[in-house]
């Protein structure tokens, strides 16, 4: 009788223990890879490209923030699976770093549930809640420890810097009194751009990376005729060689550039 009671007690414990044990969901990892191109050619800094109006153009800095990246579930409720809260993407690789440019910047996300998704949502810029913070709120290594502009009380969502043959003499001058540089900085909540890209994404137990490729040339497509004196559909960089959004500023160029991320990004 004593042994029977012990056996019964042990069996109950076993059964209860089994009932308490949570069912383990299969998970996987995902690599998000950021790359850049200039009309299909691998984007490199300090390399000559051709602007739509025919002049030579080169870049020395291209970086941007992304935030609130999520996968959209294929099911009816379209639930979101958060991937990245915020990240800083710097795609400024020179010609000696071609391999790194072709490899892109990778972000690995772990412990994602397997499943089917209908697309991916990306916020270009820093979403409003995070844009209230400052670099001093974070420890080193955090994406938001840089590129904050005090004058706007905002992060600089994107920086596109370089130089072009403004006087069409065949040369690009960088620095000095005759510099032909340009610098386009965009920021503040008004220019934050949330993009959803429709794409069937199936997460299996094998990590299949998602590559997001930005065509830098498309960032200059101009929706506002005021900034397209040439009428070629692109920002007139000779006339408008710099822009900064801000409380006292005209947001047209920053808004245009940030909005253009929607058409500039493709998913591979």
């Amino acid at each position: 009788m004593k042994y029977f009671t012990l056996l019964l007690f042990a069996s109950c414990l076993f059964i209860l223990g089994c009932e308490d044990k949570p069912e383990e969901q299969p998970v996987t990892s995902l690599d998000l890879i950021w790359k850049a191109n200039y009309d299909g050619e691998t984007f490199l800094t300090f390399k000559d490209y051709t602007y739509p109006d025919g002049r030579k153009i080169q870049f020395n800095n291209f970086n941007f923030f992304v935030s609130d990246i999520a996968l959209i579930s294929s099911d009816a409720n379209g639930a979101r699976t958060e991937l990245v809260e915020v990240d800083y993407v710097d795609l400024s690789f020179d010609e000696t770093q071609l391999a790194a440019a072709e490899q892109g910047k990778k972000v690995s996300i772990k412990d994602l549930p397997l499943g089917e998704y209908s697309g991916i949502k990306i916020g270009f810029g820093v979403q409003a809640d995070l844009n209230r913070s400052k670099p001093t709120d974070y420890g080193s290594g955090h994406p938001l420890t840089r590129n904050f502009w005090d004058g706007w009380s905002s992060y600089i969502f994107s920086m596109v810097e370089g130089a072009a043959d403004m006087d069409n003499d065949g040369n690009i001058v960088t620095g000095g009194a005759d510099t032909e540089s340009f610098t386009y900085h965009s920021g503040t909540d008004e220019v934050y751009n949330e993009v959803t890209i429709d794409k069937e994404i199936i997460l299996t137990d094998t990590n299949t990376p998602i590559t997001l490729n930005i065509n830098v040339a498309k960032l200059f497509i101009n929706a506002n005729a005021n900034f397209d004196e040439n009428g070629d559909g692109y920002l007139d960089i000779e006339t408008f060689r710099g822009t900064h959004s801000g409380p006292n500023g005209d947001f047209t160029i920053p808004t245009t550039i940030m909005n253009n991320f929607s058409s500039a990004v493709t998913i591979e």
């Binding site: 840089r146 001058v173 500023g249």
Partner: protein, 376 residues
């Protein structure tokens, strides 16, 4: 009968004592100098007191390495080492020779001579708020941590020109340093004194060198202190800019944030160079071996900038007026000069206003802080 166990125990004890004595005799040091005495520091106390760096939240976050927690005793040892010429080969120079508290821990020279009178390549950087620098120390970011950086000047031929074994030997034979090392790190004997511990102590001291009581700080983060009109105009020139066009100083592109230094590296147009290979000082490129990083340097904090002339990595500018005139001109052409270095219009009055604002960054309580002065 009952006395037998006692005798046995006493006999064993005697035998053990003899064996121990013989064994100890075999380990007699061949060089009976003080540094070879085992456990010779145990007579000194090891009672480390945790030290919490006192600074306001708005200043940022300091990262303390897990293997080098700050203690009162560690900082005190670091302060002594920082100011002691014992670290140099001829005992004439210390860290403080180039990092003088009265000059916000710089030295007022374009480039600094070492013990042999040979000038270094670059100007001594101010150590103000150095604890907040997380993207590489020195002008080119060559050291990742203060602990790593502190090792370098001792052996640098144009600085202290000493060897670490010599330094450690001198410290081991010193009258008081062994007990300071014991107090800071709990070592048992002098053999445990190492260059790594010395560097850790110096790093602890350097992490305390924090400034947050300038007029700028009092105005922005305090109450009851206000800008003068010229300072306001200077502040706006420094921080704000128009929506379109580039006709503005744009200082905070490189000197943004409360530390007045972006965590990045820039070519600010100091040197004309036709190609990436033509920079006389490769700067950041020496560290990364990336061609387009040649000629890039870390922007120093502008805190206490009025005290740290001359300016730039090679100390080429004597005054802030010269610095502003350089930026106003658009600098010199080179392939990777920052696009934010563009010529701009600035009246003499605006320039004076800009300097008036920069002067608000002076913190005399920092340079006069007794805790930051020489203990000797």
């Amino acid at each position: 009968m009952n006395r037998f166990p006692s005798l046995l125990i006493a006999g064993c004890f005697l035998l053990l004592s003899l064996l121990t004595a013989v064994a100890c005799g075999d380990e007699e040091p061949t060089d009976p100098g003080p540094i070879d005495l085992p456990n010779d520091l145990l007579e000194f106390p090891y009672e480390p007191e945790e030290y919490t760096v006192d600074y306001p939240d708005w200043l940022g976050q300091i990262e303390i390495p897990a293997d080098n927690p700050m203690t009162v005793q560690g900082i005190e040892l670091g302060r002594r080492l920082f100011f002691d010429p014992i670290l140099s080969a001829d005992s004439t120079m210390s860290c403080s020779s180039c990092h003088n508290p009265t000059q916000s821990f710089a030295d007022g020279l374009a480039t600094s001579p070492g013990i042999d009178g040979i000038l270094g390549r670059r100007s001594a950087m101010s150590l103000v708020n150095i604890a907040f620098v997380n993207n590489g120390l020195n002008w080119n970011g060559s050291s990742q941590t203060l602990e790593e950086q502190a090792l370098e000047p001792v052996t640098n031929e144009v600085e202290l020109h000493e060897t670490w074994p010599n330094v450690i030997s001198k410290l081991q034979r010193h009258e008081t340093y062994p007990q300071f090392f014991r107090a800071a790190f709990g070592i048992s004997d002098r053999d445990e004194m190492t260059k790594e511990l010395a560097a850790k102590a110096i790093a602890q001291f350097e992490r305390t060198l924090i400034s947050y009581n300038s007029r700028y700080d009092q105005i922005r983060f305090g109450t009851g202190v206000f800008y003068e009109e010229d300072e306001i105009n200077g502040r706006d020139l420094f921080f704000f800019e128009l929506a379109t066009g580039l006709d503005h100083p744009g200082c905070s592109h490189c000197h943004g944030g409360v530390q007045f230094a972006e965590p990045n590296f820039f070519n600010n147009g100091l040197t004309e160079a036709a190609t990436f290979a033509d920079f006389p000082d490769k700067g950041r490129g020496e560290v990364t071996n990336i061609a387009s990083d040649n000629g890039l340097f870390r922007p120093p904090s502008l805190r206490n900038i009025a005290l740290t002339a001359p300016y730039m990595h090679d100390g080429r500018f004597e005054t802030l007026e010269e610095v502003i005139d350089h930026y106003k001109s658009g600098g010199h052409p080179s392939p990777n000069v920052s696009s934010n270095i563009q010529p701009f219009t600035l009246t003499d009055e605006d320039r004076d206003n800009l300097i008036a604002f920069l002067n608000t960054l002076t913190d005399t309580s920092f340079i006069n802080n007794p805790a930051f002065q020489s203990p000797f």
